[in-house]
Symmetry: C2
Subunit: 571 residues, 2 copies
């Protein structure tokens, strides 16, 4: 290729694809998820060149879920798909990331700009010459769209997309036409890292809000802290932690906020979800005269079917883009600065203690002679077995309600999709999370999925093996869609699933000898033995466990939530 005048004017010419992947590397991404396709192949050549690892998923939806899991551990992720067929296969994963504030850079390999301009009848088009349909489909589920059709704009558009992705903590969409991959752009820009800091709040405004918060806080008799998902997703965990520790206030988490708070702190009180709360929690939270609510998402499944009984008059809401004190709103005042200053200026607070969650299994479960693994027994028991820093992924179904009853050690990263709730997510997400864990030196990634959910995305176990990952996978075998049975169709055939020989899958997916260990546990005794088994616990292999539970058993919180959902659906 002859160097043209434009290229000569560049200080440090780099190819568009190199620029893009270097930027991704700079923000902390070490692995790229996705599936090849002829419109992205030339771009894939740049991945190893930029020091990145190509994952190579089995399909794009799974790749999207994996990218989501990776981002929840590493902070941000990227996925490469091909035009039309590839990108549309992962629309649901991107929508989930949008809904749950997970930053994923979605790069779509496009036909050449010439082909687009001429509207020619290429494969992976709708046959109507329209090359914008797919970008438009993604618009509603992306916080920025950068179409790289012109080398002059490419660097700016790439930088903009990655910045928005990080700051808004949501997916962005970047098109990379095949003929743009090797176009030269200014590489000198790469010497300046992207600015990823949140813009600070306006000082006077922030101070005003802090004063208002402190006024109410000092006046309160029994204030508490309630932490939810947006504290995690909008990166306010440090400020939240400092407030919890410094204030000593009783602190609770909403289900989606699980993992945000150090559950070994003496003032940690458990999960609040209205009628679905941990024992003693509802009473304490609902009798509080001031709730410092950090990053709340009050969705149906996060509140056990809207059974919150908290008055807005007793609430201060901290969010990424506003603060609200009772009914007074302060738009644009981000929580991070406010929380930090409130902590600094706390002064003396009136503290009325809250409940302390135990790691203990309910008395009647212990007394029961029944060998069956019940939901009420398993989840608290799990809490005793988990270790600090574990990554724990729970699927929509009995698992992500059961986990409400699991008290975590320090620094557990809990991943689930309580708002979006797409089943199959957890298995894909586990692949990404386990890879991120490996990159960060985190020892264990543990997945709990249902037999129904696992069937949607089972092949991602293959990708785990291919990438030498060793998560611990529990498939809850309970004969189908138990969560759905509780909503409608208790014994209807549509809530059954085909019975698989789950345990045989790692081998079928190409596990080499010693690369995977499989188990089946059918009784409490089996679980106890498994949890004690050094060969299980200390193994470096992928571990795959069939966890057999009754078809008609569900965590208490799920029963409540399902009842509310059924009622609402019929209304």
């Amino acid at each position: 290729m002859a160097t043209d005048i434009r290229t000569q004017a560049l200080q440090k010419p780099v190819d568009v694809a190199e620029y893009l992947f270097t930027r991704l590397r700079q923000v902390g991404i070490e692995s790229i998820h996705g599936v090849p396709g002829d419109y992205n192949l030339a771009a894939l050549d740049y991945i190893p060149k930029a020091g990145l690892h190509w994952v190579g998923n089995c399909n794009e939806l799974n790749a999207g879920y994996a990218a989501d899991g990776y981002a929840r551990v590493k902070g941000i992720s990227a996925i490469v798909t091909t035009f039309g067929v590839g990108e549309l296969s992962c629309v649901n994963a991107m929508a989930g990331a949008y809904s749950e504030y997970v930053p994923i850079v979605h790069i779509v390999g496009y036909p050449s700009t010439a082909a687009q301009k001429d509207g020619i009848l290429l494969h992976h088009t709708l046959g109507n010459g329209d090359y914008n349909v797919f970008a438009n489909i993604s618009k509603g589920i992306s916080c920025a769209t950068s179409l790289l059709n012109d080398p002059f704009e490419a660097a700016t558009l790439i930088d903009h997309a990655i910045q928005e992705c990080w700051i808004q903590s949501r997916p962005v969409y970047i098109s990379l036409p095949s003929d743009m991959v090797q176009k030269k752009i200014e590489g000198a820009r790469l010497d300046t890292p992207l600015k990823l800091d949140y813009a600070p709040n306006e000082t006077e405004k922030e101070d005003y809000v802090v004063d208002v918060v402190l006024k109410y806080l000092h006046a309160a008799k029994n204030p508490i802290i309630l932490v939810d998902a947006c504290a995690i997703r909008h990166r306010a965990l440090k400020e939240t932690h400092d407030l919890i520790v410094t204030s000593g206030l009783p602190t609770f988490v909403a289900p989606m906020g699980k993992g945000a708070v150090d559950e070994t702190l003496p003032n940690y009180g458990g999960v609040y979800a209205g009628d679905g709360s941990n024992a003693g929690v509802r009473e304490r939270v609902e009798s509080s005269d001031l709730i410092l609510s950090i990053g709340a998402i009050k969705s149906d499944f996060n509140t056990a079917g809207f059974t919150y009984h908290i008055s807005q008059l007793n609430t201060i809401d901290f969010h990424s883009n506003y603060t609200r004190v009772r009914y007074s709103e302060y738009p644009g005042v981000r929580m991070n600065g406010v929380l930090a200053k409130v902590t600094q200026k706390l002064g003396k607070l009136s503290i009325e203690e809250g409940p302390t969650p135990s790691n203990e299994i309910p008395q009647d479960e212990i007394m029961s002679g029944e060998p069956t693994i019940t939901q009420a027994w398993f989840w608290p028991r799990l809490g005793q077995w988990l270790k600090a820093k574990d990554i724990v992924i729970t699927e929509t179904g009995t698992a992500n309600f059961g986990i409400w009853e699991t008290r975590f050690p320090k620094d557990v990263n809990a991943i689930s999709q309580v708002l979006w709730g797409s089943i199959g997510y957890a298995t894909g997400s586990c692949q990404g999370a386990a890879l991120a864990a490996k990159e960060l030196g985190i020892a264990r990634t543990i997945l709990f999925t249902g037999d129904g959910s696992f069937q949607l995305t089972a092949q991602e176990v293959s990708t785990m093996l291919r990438n030498n990952l060793n998560p611990i996978i529990f498939v809850i075998c309970n004969g189908g869609y138990t969560i759905e049975r509780y909503i409608h169709g208790w014994q209807d055939a549509y809530n059954d699933v085909q019975e698989w020989d789950y345990k045989s899958l790692p081998k079928a997916f190409g596990a080499k000898p010693g690369q995977a260990q499989t188990y089946r546990v059918e009784s409490k005794q089996d679980v106890e033995m498994l949890f004690l088994d050094k060969n299980f616990v200390e193994s470096k292999a992928l571990r795959f466990v069939e966890l057999v539970m009754p078809w008609d058993d569900a965590p208490k919180a799920l029963k409540l939530t399902a009842e509310a959902a059924a009622k609402r659906n019929a209304e």
Copy 2:
């Protein structure tokens, strides 16, 4: 529920869901594909009541592909998904059906109209109160959208959607809010079947076009017929067949038109795809002075990379919505009526014979002592083994180019996605096609997929087993994405896939003893023996074959097409 005034005014009150499923049954659908979700569960109760069978797929993308395959055999199909998570998971399948003119009724279980109106924060939403995002996403890939928010309009909207689906031969989108399922509407309408006929052409206009066509046809010295996909998808096969038989003109098919023409007819000449044509075909077609082109879709993969050399001055195009004679266009003149009249009035034509494709394997392949199963050997050999009425599904990859070299017996239904080209499609499609075949008493459904493609949707083998289907599945094991290697990245790792123990999957997916038979063929000799094996050929079990081929081998037409694609991508 108290019967209200509105209900009392109805002659034969029926529930909305019953109305909907009864209509689907009336247009010939016997099975419904999809995945349950709490917003659609109540509707699923009506499926058996309407005499329909619920398939219960492993995931929604696969269900969408299956519905596509079912529609290509039965004429139309339906899929039920749940709001957000379910529907977005199958966007790619619906886009494929839109692109390739396959009629699928997509029913999405929605939250109640009350919940929508209040914009409440339910699971499966983006958390922004917007309940229209997903319907808008589907708009660009549906030919009608019916949102059933009001019982007064429900019947009309349902009828409209099904009619459009059939007539335009494209997907439609129907929302069914959970509270609408049991609302009463007028069932007396069901006594009148839906009108699904194409509106006839205006007589004077049609006659005019027929005269023009005949004028050129009589003047032509060596006219030919070229049949493509839209002849199938817009239901002009009878008219096309009559023209071919009555005229005796040499007849060819484009790759996407394969299966449209009885290949045992003496005037059938083979596949035309420019430089990728069957032997002798290019010469005959390109030297013709008049091409009657029926239902053409001149996409890159259907023309071996735009290597058609046919002048528009020698072409008459017949389409579903227009006719074009050289450059004169006749909008709105549908092919069916025109072709029928042209056939009636044919008169004497000048016929210059064309080539006759043989069932034979190329001489050098026969002479070769090499035991390896080559692409050049396999596909013609397959043609000798196929039987009349077989359904043959080929995946994007070496398979859907290889099949160009397979001469079919009578009435073979060939299914592939040459324009949309989404891999994973073929396995899902096979489930739907095999079910449709069973309903129609067709004996054999035969799938050819690649090892790479199979990994995207492998679990649908489970759905086949669950529904007692017995297709014959060939997985071409050639160490990864061979088609991609020919485009870019010959030996790059991103074109490898994890090596599975494919044969062990049917059992892992729950095949009962005797329900599945598995094979691995590694040499021509193995193939010959398999094709002769009565226990294989006559079995009523699902048959699963690992068909081992070299990693670096591809059909000739694929090599050409890949080269053109690589060039275009770099341009």
